[in-house]
Symmetry: C2
Subunit: 200 residues, 2 copies
Amino acid sequence: MRQLPQLLVHLTQSLSKLPGIGPKSAERIALYLVQTDPVQVHQIAQTIKDACDKISDCSICGALTEDQPCGICKNPQRDHRLICLVEKPSDLINLEKSGIFKGRYHVLGGKISPINGIGPEDLRIEQLEQRIKTETPEEIIIALDTDVEGDATSYYLAERLSSSSVKVTRLAHGIPAGSGLEYADELTLNHALSGRREIQ
Amino acid sequence: MRQLPQLLVHLTQSLSKLPGIGPKSAERIALYLVQTDPVQVHQIAQTIKDACDKISDCSICGALTEDQPCGICKNPQRDHRLICLVEKPSDLINLEKSGIFKGRYHVLGGKISPINGIGPEDLRIEQLEQRIKTETPEEIIIALDTDVEGDATSYYLAERLSSSSVKVTRLAHGIPAGSGLEYADELTLNHALSGRREIQ
């Protein structure tokens, strides 16, 4: 007996596949889309298509980009002595939004994870070694997560790159800004203690 | 110095206009869309366009529909003696999903709200009166919200429709299912008490 417009049901189902969108949010967005100014809705749909068609991975660093190579790789003002190694394009975007890092990036495309069947050959490590040869950076800054897989991948890379003359560093671990000791777990406290620095 | 793909920024901004989507969720969805199977993304964009183009208001009841009139209005099996009056198309969808109501609907398109400049002439009341004349229903069930504006609109409608022979009823107010007295406010308790029924 239930009679709902099939296209609306279909739209709701499509939207609920998006990350972080549950069935309730999907229905709310679907209702909004079919009741809003059609010009605006067509623009949203076109923007989705355009972004999907025109954005690809940078052939050098692996970042998401509209141009080949990406704006960061072809920018002569970016410090070519530093390469920051990140796991995913979104990590790069977060770092870039902070505006702190002035060097270049390399997207690894994952972390070594035997349980998920991801080995070193599935990551963009060979491309990194190639870049070390051609671009001769002075330092590779590893900015992987601080979980078990991130740690393992970092140690593996430090070992593998030790034959080249490049310096391999890793982001500092410790208490996050605006947080206190009561929220820090044991491992974080361990990192924070062992990484303590003299106040100057 | 910050260099992010402009299309990705544009997509994130477009998505953050959707209801319930903040900047962080919008970025997460945008990143998903540019990194997923393009076929699937094009399908989502096309579904949005299709739904926006093909869904409109039913010429009779005002519900969202792909056909004119909507499936409910043209279904001879729906009880033509009952018309349920709702504020928005989403209210109709919620009722319809419950599968309890077998009659027809009428979407009012809002509630009387002097503070927002919405008077009776802005609502689909004349269309309702026309339907009462042509369809001769026995009962109009008012299913508006139980806020001040919903109450005012309900009383206004009961008064305005009193000249016709149609019975005007309103959904029962009281303690919601699965809830208890400790969560009920004074007004709800008042409604629940005054609307008490004999146990049969």
